[in-house]
Symmetry: C2
């Protein structure tokens, strides 16, 4: 499927009607949904009606006529928000989440709700990896990543509490962008861990990801993503480098070399002591907060929660308030450390995942390489950059400073162009 | 009404049944609600049924049998969450907010929903000041503050985005406690401004406020609030001292003197340059975020929003992303400045409000003296400490370091005891 920016241009120029674009998406879904399983709810009638309205209007905004997949923890007025759990089968949304309303104002058309893991944690839904249906698409934004890479929609919204945007983007081989924490409002979205939950986006290009991120946050989209000079990149292996498989390490180092050859200043940076172990700090914060977020479900519906979630909530009980408060303090030190590292580089270049998408549909893979950046509230972008031993995509992750989204996206666009040429 | 701690003891000792306590609350409401107007919804049957269940059980937790008022932006399963807006008249909650579920687990009984201003902003509901019905109770947690001070319930939950806990507590003359940002989960609560919204509590004593704050956050309550030695207090006039009226300034300085005489080390601390103007920074952050939170209501229900809210949302549009991002950076500097100040003192002693509750019910007063501490995520306690020229309560505010809640509450309990003796 063409990038959204080009589709919007074609609609603006009268070459394409929004209604036809919606029908094209529906046809692709019709063909492929039986294998991919990206959708929880498809609002065919609503989407077609909105498309016809938009076709009668002049350009409403930068996403005029673009169908979008919405992760099913995000409210769309009138549709159920099932949160990947049978408990919420009948939970019809009273209003649009703020980000959905902002997307409508930009001219976007919510085509339906995409499959999420249970409460955006680790227990998978029905989605498969579009490259190979025996492999996981990653999670928790499984349906959003799969729908975009499979050409069912040009854009989709997801969310990340550990690695739920970067990981499925890497496994499915598409662009995933997790903005700075708080940039996209969470009003109308199921909370899992409040100091971590971050709304993110999936797109086929960095430019599209930037467009969707801006629109969903109520900001004007940048007209262009430019860097004044080739960027300075810090290759950051982390303390977890040994946990990455050969393909992942090769993907990162090969990309680093290609970007060096393309003119970037690329240097290895040793792990910062104040970032050491933050993946464990993240896991503690996440469990402690989740143990509280789901107080209601725990009391009344414990037996209807998945074993993985139950175990996580019990881990949260074991953390204790003192360790939690200390963990938040460690996150603050980590933020200062990241700012130090990024005083000498435009972005960190680091793995997105341990490896390519694992075989099997009973798990969604490990968010190990994403936890620290989520904890630190830093913006991050996954770019597809290689293949693993099973022929599935691998990715690189670019991490920028908190609130430095626009520059990070500009760097990512530069990298994307050089990698596609290399 | 007796403090909750004593009521729980009496229930535990078999001297009081939870059902009788609920009936006592209902009787007080029956008498006074026509004047005070603290309640949006009263769940008489549900509360009595829960009380009877608790009366058959052994002690469920530290709030066993205690009726609680829940601000009507906080979900209680099965009851409407009206958010102070006719738009939400039919918005029935699918589940309990996390903090409500945690309170139930502690044995508390949600008695009903207390009146909030429209979306917890400035447009008042029907509540009056229990001391004088021609005066505002303050807002936005109007019903929660009024219900507690009027003896309708021993405890209530509120929330603060600018001054919505500390201000009504000061105006109504009761203890208000705004915990560290994030301590009480916001799952199931209407967002207004995500980086500011903080759940808080109302009680008649500091000890009760600590108990409720702990239970609502899923933490074990402290058995005692002790300080090892008389505390060090920094009298902090702020740069806004001239905006406080004579009664407020007198309340703060008289309390300072009384506490000095009681053995506290009390020193004036000049305004810190990095805290200067943060009340304006707060207002920008609040408006920018609210302009996004209410994207849905703006698009579909603009004419049904109050003029004050519409103006605020338009102000939010005028802020712009660059100023907003800069404001968040200023807040981070402010947090470091507050930590510096609190390196030499246990708490700041500062005004809660400009003055006593203003006359009239068409406005809820000014949160000026609360904005900075909300922005900085610092815990704060209001203690009643004097009277204004109209005979209405004035308060002092104690502010502690982020995550230093337990020590702040211990200091506040020390101060409360000394002030009540003076």
């Amino acid at each position: 499927m063409q990038p959204a920016r080009q589709l919007v241009e074609r609609i603006s120029d009268g070459e394409l009607r929004a209604e036809d674009l919606v029908r094209e998406c529906l046809a692709r879904i019709q063909d492929r949904e039986g294998v991919v399983g990206a959708w929880e709810t498809i609002d065919e009638e609503g989407a077609l009606a909105q498309a016809r309205t938009l076709d009668r209007e002049s350009r409403r905004g930068p996403l005029h006529g673009i169908p979008i997949g919405i992760k099913d923890i995000i409210d769309v007025a009138g549709l159920p928000t099932r949160n990947g759990s049978p408990l919420y089968a009948d939970n019809r949304a009273f209003r649009d989440a703020a980000c959905v309303a902002l997307l409508r104002a930009a001219g976007a058309i919510p085509l339906g709700k995409t499959v999420t893991t249970e409460f955006a944690y680790l227990t998978p839904g029905k989605t498969t990896n579009p490259h190979n249906p025996r492999h996981t698409p990653g999670g928790s934004s499984s349906g959003s990543a799969a729908a975009v890479v499979d050409g069912m929609v040009p854009l989709a919204l997801g969310s990340q509490t550990a690695g739920s945007v970067i990981r499925p983007a890497a496994f499915c081989g598409t662009v995933g962008y997790k903005p700075t924490f708080g940039m996209i409002s969470r009003a109308g979205i199921l909370p899992f861990a409040e100091s971590l939950d971050t709304i993110g986006v999936f797109a086929t290009t960095v430019s599209d990801a930037a467009l969707l991120g801006a629109a969903a946050s109520g900001r004007a989209p940048a007209s262009q993503l430019d860097v004044a000079a080739p960027p300075r990149l810090a290759v950051y292996r982390t303390d977890l480098w040994d946990r990455a498989d050969d393909a992942t390490r090769d993907t990162v180092l090969t990309a680093a070399q290609a970007l060096r050859e393309a003119g970037a200043r690329v240097e290895e940076v040793p792990p910062h002591p104040d970032l050491r172990g933050l993946e464990k700090t993240h896991a503690m914060v996440m469990a402690f907060e989740a143990a509280r977020s789901f107080a209601y479900e725990r009391q009344l519906h414990w037996d209807e929660l998945s074993p993985k979630l139950r175990e996580h909530l019990q881990q949260g009980d074991a953390v204790g308030p003192e360790a939690y408060d200390k963990a938040l303090g460690a996150a603050e030190s980590g933020r200062r450390a990241l700012n130090e590292l990024l005083g000498f580089a435009d972005a960190l270049l680091t793995p997105s995942t341990i490896g390519e998408a694992p075989e099997g549909l009973d798990a969604t893979g490990d968010p190990l390489f994403d936890r620290t950046w989520t904890l630190l509230h830093a913006p991050a972008v996954n770019l597809p950059a290689g293949r693993g031993p099973r022929g599935l995509p691998t990715g690189i992750q670019l991490v920028g400073p908190v609130r430095g989204d626009l520059h990070l996206l500009s760097v990512a666009a530069w990298v994307e162009e050089r990698l596609s040429a290399s």
